[in-house]
Subunit: 336 residues, 2 copies
DNA sequence: AAAAATAGTTAAATCGTTTTAATATCCCAA
DNA sequence: TTGGGATATTAAAACGATTTAACTATTTTT
């Protein structure tokens, strides 16, 4: 209340130096290739005065002059979805260690909203973007990349886009868990996936096909594609699957498998006695339903860590340096 | 890539007016009590030029000059916790409608980290704060309030602090669900709570006591207080509770009840046949474990909505207007 | 001893807006 | 015709930092 904003000028006056020198000390910066040379004693005095006056740099002024906001924008499908919430949490912590902040946005898997949210973040003036691209956002993504904004994709990649990404080896992961189901004797294995066109689920489908074909079960391949947020069809699907004599389900995501599991149990069946189940992502539900569920654990911490590291490398590169495009593929862990 | 930043000056030149006028039009502002009067035709022309040049206002400059960043800071316990993730999601959407952005931080229920995160947000220059105060953060909170930063507390309130808050009527909610357990015949009802000192769990404990005492069961009152993140003690506790002949559990939170439920089921018991359970917050686990669980549904959307509304009212009040302190208590919904 | 390099510091421009106070124009009443 | 009020517009001063180029000293090299 009492204290008007303390500025660099106040410190300069108090310490008997110029504002410029204070600036140099506060953000120990490089000019050209050289480090600014400040007398250690002067530097110490300035820091003491700053401390004493409770100086807090004004980020807006900094950002205005330097063009860097120290903020990065993150767009996920839905921050309330546990998978993305966890990633968000790691990103938040990682950013902190780089002296950065994070602003989040949720796309709801809607390309129009995706564009809008990205624009809001860009208007805010983020130094970079970490995006979970949603289906149909290719146009927006191309514009972003073309405009030279530092960007890293996460969880899903977009073919033909010159941009770094961090994804899971979804195809192998899916293959392995389906093989596990096969080794347990299941033959009629359905996969439940999303109808939206994103690389992660498409790759998982391919892994499922790989495993089924390798086992000579091409005829048993059945991929049920559910529209995002249209979950009313699950009961019908389950009834139909039962009539086909399905023995096991492989679920592409968290949400889907909760829905199908719920349907299985509502109908009075048990896992794994009546139906085998394999799925992506852990869930507290396992704690209550025996030990029969095979699942893929995604290294959420690495998703965040690698993405942040790539982004920071892009942000910190010298203006004329080439943009390093790197595609990181993370290995899953298969657990029960 | 091609386009250097388009500024207000570019528009002014193109439209043949002064930068000031462009500014007035872009943010249709009030001067003193009066609205700036701009000729509708001029206004239209300026907007057209702006549109045509793809003008994007520079937020840093705006913020520097006006002192408003259009960003609000939110600190929760852990953004990865479903309850807070959902609140975060609503806050994000609500903020958008006020033309604001949100930056999140997680305190991990650690007062030191709470202070640090709040300071990071303040350094960033947020226009206001929405906080879930953690135990032991009273000092930090008092400083915040004393410094006149617009603040609203959510989920938990801090007695003796002159600040608006939005909380659940935790006491009644707890009383009602315990009464439900009682009406189902349970007499030996334990409550599982946190040892940390926050208003929400304390109020819930009081509600539990109210119900037990009203039923003449004062002697059966047992509140098990678990330290945050020290969940290894749950199995011991459960064994001890069994030996006491406990028939029902009332759990103070999401996380706690998942843990206890898991322990119940791991030991081969069933809900509600062997143990009755009542708890706060819904969870997908219910979908898989019968219909016996009584739970309190918190109106998460209202938490966010009311808090944002209060905060906006504070932010938009005239400098000399009094700070309106309002305590909103939300009604829970009791479900099975 | 002169020239060159180095170290330490600063003046002043600049970033893109907002905002205050002033001005210019027109209209109508006195 | 003069003056007062609207109405519409603008010049110019902020806002608080960063950053370039310049300017002293001082030291080193030739």
């Amino acid at each position: 209340m009492t204290n008007r904003h303390v500025t660099i000028k106040d410190i300069a006056r108090e310490a008997g130096v110029s504002p410029a020198l204070v600036s140099f000390v506060m953000s120990n910066r490089v000019a050209g290739e050289q480090l600014y040379r400040v007398n250690p004693e002067t530097s110490k005095r300035i820091l003491e005065v700053a401390e004493h006056l409770h100086y807090k740099p004004n980020n807006s002024a900094r950002a205005l002059r330097s063009g860097k906001t120290g903020t990065i924008g993150v767009v996920v499908s839905d921050i309330a979805n546990p998978f993305f919430a966890e990633i968000a949490r790691y990103l938040e912590d990682d950013a902190y260690h780089y002296d950065y902040n994070v602003i989040f946005g949720s796309s709801d898997e809607n390309p129009e909203k995706f564009r809008r949210v990205v624009n809001v973040l860009l208007n805010k003036g983020v130094d970079g973007l970490i995006l979970v691209p949603c289906a149909g956002a290719d146009e927006t993504l191309r514009e972003i990349v073309a405009s030279g904004i530092n960007t890293v994709l996460i969880d899903r990649k977009v073919p033909g886009l010159e941009v770094s990404s961090v994804v899971l080896d979804n195809r192998s992961a899916a293959r392995v868990i389906v093989e596990k189901l096969l080794s347990r004797g299941a033959r009629r294995i359905d996969m439940v996936s999303y109808s939206m066109d994103i690389s992660s689920t498409r790759d998982r489908e391919q892994g499922y096909r790989d495993a089924m074909e390798a086992a000579g079960l091409s005829d048993n391949i059945h991929i049920e594609r559910v529209a995002h947020n249209d979950y009313a069809c699950i009961p019908d699907y389950f009834r139909e699957a039962r009539s086909r004599g399905v023995e096991a389900f492989m679920m592409a995501t968290n949400t889907l498998s909760s829905l199908v599991l719920s349907e299985i149990i509502r109908n009075g069946f048990r896992v794994p006695e009546d139906y085998q189940v394999a799925r992506f992502d852990r869930n507290s539900v396992y704690d209550f339903n025996g030990h029969g569920i095979i699942y893929v654990r995604q290294p959420v911490d690495l998703f965040a860590g690698k993405a942040m590291k790539l982004l920071m490398a892009e942000i910190r590169r010298k203006p004329k340096q080439e943009i390093p495009v790197e595609e990181i593929v993370l290995s899953p862990e298969i657990l029960e």
